[in-house]
């Protein structure tokens, strides 16, 4: 029994230590915001890399999500003769939940993994130490631009995802389910509030930060050659995905919970 408690205690302490290290890493990364040198070009490059090149993946998943939502909610609601709620359900689900979550998960897989691999390779080949010896703070040069890019880019991607998700629902609604186009659009607008969209964008900012943070953190910590870098990539994607889903619940509770 005591052995069991000791193990639980050790695991808990380990968890606290890991959380502390992660928080420390985030603070070190963000500390550079307040004083020069700044690297605007690096931030811009990360925004383009994260945002522009993620557009196809995020766009496609958003459209299909909107389409499936329309189809599913139609089959569900037709049992209660509530078909007219389809448009509302689509737009609320997409802006509040699915847009940010899907964009976050896609970017975690696409960008978070690449970040961990790039920074991990730089770590195991001494490039990060080389930065330091060339009087350049690796947190400012590598970590901060990525954290900021995540924070800025994901909301932008989610705006696109929201629009395309609603569009996917509209296509299925009008073409396949026989809704009147004008009615569908009116339905979409009527129950949509600013808060629905804003909460989704705030979530997106948080998710983008998480993706960058986990990519940088695991890359930075990687040890031991190609195997270590591979492991860092996996950790970055898995931990970012879990943290996105967890924080999504917490944020939803904070925004809409009673």
């Amino acid at each position: 029994m005591t052995a069991f408690l000791a193990r639980v205690g050790a695991a808990f302490l380990g968890f606290l230590a890991a959380t502390g290290r992660l928080a420390g890493f985030a603070l070190m990364g963000l500390a550079g915001i307040f004083s020069p040198p700044f690297y605007p070009r690096l931030i811009l490059r990360q925004i383009v890399y994260m945002g522009y090149y993620s557009l196809p993946v995020v766009g496609l998943t958003a459209i299909f999500t909107g389409m499936v939502l329309a189809l599913q909610s139609y089959t569900g609601f037709s049992r209660f003769n509530a078909e007219s709620a389809v448009a509302t359900v689509v737009v609320l689900s997409v802006t509040r939940e699915l847009g940010p979550v899907i964009a976050g998960l896609m970017v975690a897989g696409r960008v978070g993994a690449a970040m961990a691999a790039e920074i991990g390779t730089m770590r195991v080949t001494d490039q990060i130490d080389a930065l330091t010896t060339l009087s350049t703070d690796p947190y400012r040069y590598l970590v901060l631009p990525r954290l900021l890019a995540g924070l800025i880019t994901l909301p932008l991607l989610v705006v696109v995802a929201d629009i395309l998700g609603v569009f996917g629902g509209y296509i299925v609604g009008t073409v396949k389910l026989g809704f009147n186009p004008a009615n569908y659009l009116t339905q979409t607008e009527t129950y949509l509030e600013t808060m629905d969209v804003v909460s989704g964008l705030v979530k997106a900012g948080v998710f983008g930060f998480i993706v960058s943070l986990m990519g940088c953190y695991h890359g930075y910590q990687s040890r031991g050659g190609a195997e270590g870098v591979g492991q860092a990539t996996t950790y970055a994607v898995v931990s970012a995905s879990i943290m996105i889903l967890l924080s999504n619940y917490l944020l939803t509770a904070a925004f809409f919970g009673k």
Partner: protein, 265 residues
């Protein structure tokens, strides 16, 4: 050489005292004492895996020793704050054993990195200096436009060397500068290192397994074994050191006090 030095001219540029460093249970440095004077060229020799690279990473502040003192120009650097450490880095240049070039940047941008990012020089001027430094390691301007991945191992090493000396630092560390080079190019690099020390007045700490190079570039040689400095003396005395470790190492014999942990197959 720095103008703002306040301590007497005979104070060592680098003073390492009783430095200990382990990785988990593995003790790598076990009480290192060594000095390096201003404008002196110190060569560190020792078997593979004895901690030579770890020692210079400790001096640079890239690794943190568990105990001991490392003074640069009389200033204690163990436990130094990050801002002070970044400022101190301006005195250093480092050639990493594995070159450690930034593979997202072109070759000349690698060489100019410390000038542009570290010192805020404009790009055109930095590029001119970078191409000069590349020429001094025998690489033409066309190489400057390539990516590090397009170079051979020896070329990467020379680019890394050019990068280490580009900002004309006061103290330069060379981790195996001639490993992987042909004998002629190795001698060119030896001459370049000597030039940095004699003409620019830099202090140099080099690690090498190449005894020809050690004799040529070193004013003083120190031998590392089992976490301690087992011998140090002027480079001219390396052949009659009277130290069994040094004799075995210099003559490259498998038999002697240094036991390689290998099993016959």
């Amino acid at each position: 050489m720095s103008d703002g030095r306040t301590q007497p001219a005979n104070a060592p540029k680098i003073a390492v005292r009783d430095v200990h460093k382990s990785f988990g249970p593995k003790v790598v440095l076990d009480g290192i004492d060594i000095d390096c004077g201003v404008g002196e060229s110190l060569v560190i020799i020792g078997g593979s895996g004895t901690g030579k690279s770890v020692l210079i990473k400790c001096i640079l502040g890239l690794l943190h020793p568990e105990s001991g003192s490392i003074r640069i120009d009389g200033v204690e650097t163990v436990g130094m704050r990050r801002a002070a450490r970044t400022a101190l880095m301006r005195k250093f240049g480092m050639l990493f054993q594995g070159a450690a070039l930034f593979d997202s940047l072109r070759v000349w941008e690698n060489v100019a990195f410390g000038l542009i990012q570290g010192r805020g020089m404009e790009r055109a001027g930095a590029k001119r200096i970078a191409l000069e430094k590349l020429a001094s390691v025998g690489l033409g301007p066309e190489v400057g436009e390539l990516r590090p991945a397009e170079l051979s191992g020896g070329m990467q090493k020379r680019v890394a060397l050019a990068r280490a000396i580009a900002a004309e630092p006061e103290i330069i560390f060379f981790d195996e500068p001639t490993t992987g080079l042909d004998p002629i190019m190795a001698d060119v690099i030896n001459d370049l290192i000597i030039k940095c020390v004699r003409e620019v007045g830099a202090t140099a700490v080099s690690i090498t397994h190449d005894m020809v190079s050690a004799r040529k570039i070193g004013d003083r040689i120190a031998m590392l074994h089992k976490g301690k400095i087992v011998w140090q003396g002027p480079a001219t005395e390396i052949d009659d050191s009277g130290n069994p470790f040094v004799e075995q190492f210099v003559n490259g014999r498998a038999e002697g006090p240094i036991q390689m942990e290998v099993r016959a197959i």
